[in-house]
Amino acid sequence: MKERIEICLSGSGGQGLILAGIILAEAAGIYDGKEAVQSQSYGPEARGGASRSEVVISNNTIDYPKVIKSDILLALTQTACDKYVKNLNKDGILVADSTLVTEVPNISNKIYLFPIAETAQKKFGTKLVTNIISLGIIVGLTEVVSQEAIKKAVCFRVPVKAKEVNEKALLLGFDIAKDLKTKK
């Protein structure tokens, strides 16, 4: 794996992307013992505006804390996809929600599409876990952090009451990743 990996989680405010970023950074930094930085860019509104959460993971001290060229891009809205795909590394991967991102960019990168939010609603009765399923998919596809670490990080960050459903959502993400991989 590269010494420094840059991840961009994008979508709109309220989709839980900042929390997803925190969990990912915690998995890497606290449980996998690497260096990790999470940052975000958001508008003044709490919900609905464009939102981007960035995570940089490295084996060494992290100097520049932001994404320069993302290695992994998650896009949960069309706007976010259009905006951030330009900044995707040549050998980076794109994970997008296939129902929310209908115009898939014409790029040579590895693209993984899945109706994440829809599945969240169907399987768990709530779109709230879209972010955690997404994390499962990303980790399943890339092993950017260990599965064990992300599990622990999810359990640490989500409220006790929501622990079980989030754990399940994460595991579902791992499974989706397996399927997506074999399809490729």
């Binding site: 925190i22 950074a25 606290i30 013992g33 930085v37 100097d63 804390p65 260990s146």
Partner: protein
């Protein structure tokens, strides 16, 4: 690789959280504030944690009141903190001056966002660097520190309290939105490994106490209100007793002492870090989140065969005049990238005294300067 066990003292902390943690480690017992992005998390953390240790949190009606309450609490004996952003910092200025003239220890955090006015509430800036120095009126010294990592936020918050207690002065901690909101791995030091400085108390009985008579180090011992030392504090220029004076000799000596107590101790106060400067012909001077971009630029530039180094400033005020002057004698070019259109660069230029070229690189669009554009600026200057 780790055994996946969470170490208790290693945490992923947000910059603002780390500031609160640092303050607690330094012994903060009082916080007064007013909600403002992007500093509010400091207040939220304080509201939760202070009462747990018997400390006090209060949300005041505005920033002016917050600054006043912090000064009041400090005089009554508690280490005190307030945190804000640009618009709030403007409002605090008058009472900041009161803290300076009365030598009241306290720490004021400014998580900088774009301005002027409401500006860019959720986006970073370094536009308040000169405000930190000259924001409140009158001729006064100030100490201002600028961390660039979450870990440094923690350690410099402790430093800020220590300086404020040691030198009896308010200390400004300049964050920017990037590091205030960023989360990063922090190893929280054990309390026994931290140096915590407390204000010097009077050793004489109350009837002999002169509240503004300095010791040899220029700093007068400070009695807290309620400890049996009855004395007067006023925003008017005052004599040793703390009473207003219009004696020009006393006035002159007083203002000079305020400056000197800081100036005399710059060796202790000025903190900076050097990256690859030994053989550098081009130097970057940077601080805050931009210093991290600059650090990366140094690596990128070295890969391209350019002898570039970085002087990362952690103390902004007093400005490390001598260090920059020495650097100017060594290098051909100094570039100062900052999220404003030229503030600290002016100071760097002054310190360089014409010994090398000093150029600004500013960005004011609410985005953090990235390493590639600094590298671009280096090439642009080389080709000139």
């Amino acid at each position: 690789m780790n055994n996946l066990k969470k170490k208790k003292n290693i945490k992923l902390l947000q910059g603002n959280e780390a500031c609160a943690e640092g303050a607690l480690l330094a012994g903060v017992k009082f916080f007064a504030g007013y909600p403002i992005t992007p500093s509010s998390e400091i207040a939220e953390n304080m509201a939760r944690k202070l009462p747990k240790i018997g400390g006090k949190f209060i949300q005041m009606e505005d920033e002016i009141a917050s600054m006043a309450a912090v000064i009041g609490a400090s005089i009554a004996g508690l280490k005190s903190l307030t945190a804000t952003s640009g618009p709030g910092m403007c409002l605090k200025q008058e009472n900041l001056g009161f803290a300076i003239i009365n030598e009241i220890p306290c720490v004021v955090v400014n998580a900088q966002r774009g301005g002027p006015s409401t500006g860019l509430p959720t986006k970073p800036s370094q536009g308040d660097m000169m405000q930190a120095r000259w924001g409140t009126h009158g001729d006064h010294p100030i100490i201002a520190l600028a961390p660039s990592t979450v870990n440094e936020i923690l350690t410099l918050t402790i430093k800020a309290f220590n300086f404020s207690e040691k030198y009896r002065t308010p200390v400004i901690l300049l964050l920017d939105e990037v590091i205030a909101h960023m989360r990063e791995k922090v190893e929280i030091p054990a309390p026994e490994n931290i140096e915590v400085i407390n204000r010097k108390k009077p050793t004489v009985p109350p009837e002999e106490y002169l509240p503004f008579k300095p010791d040899e180090d220029g700093v007068p011992p400070m009695a807290n209100f309620g400890e049996g030392y009855r004395y007067h504090i006023t925003g008017l220029i005052h004599n040793y007793k703390g009473l207003p004076t219009s004696n020009s000799q006393e006035i002159d000596a007083f203002i000079r002492r305020l400056h000197n107590k800081i100036q005399k101790n710059i060796k202790d106060i000025i903190i900076y870090e050097k990256y690859s400067l030994d053989d550098a012909k081009i130097a970057l001077i940077a601080y805050g989140s931009v210093a991290r971009a600059a650090e990366r630029t140094v690596k990128l530039a070295r890969e391209e065969g350019l002898k570039v180094g970085l002087l990362k400033l952690l103390t902004i005020w007093p400005f490390p005049f001598e260090e920059v002057n020495r650097l100017a004698q060594q290098v051909d070019l100094i570039i100062v990238p900052e999220m404003n259109l030229g503030q600290i660069v002016l100071e760097a230029e002054r310190a360089a005294q014409g010994k090398c070229r000093v150029v600004p690189y500013g960005r004011v669009d609410g985005e953090l300067i990235n390493p590639i554009e600094i590298l671009g600026k280096i090439w642009e200057e080389i080709r000139k």
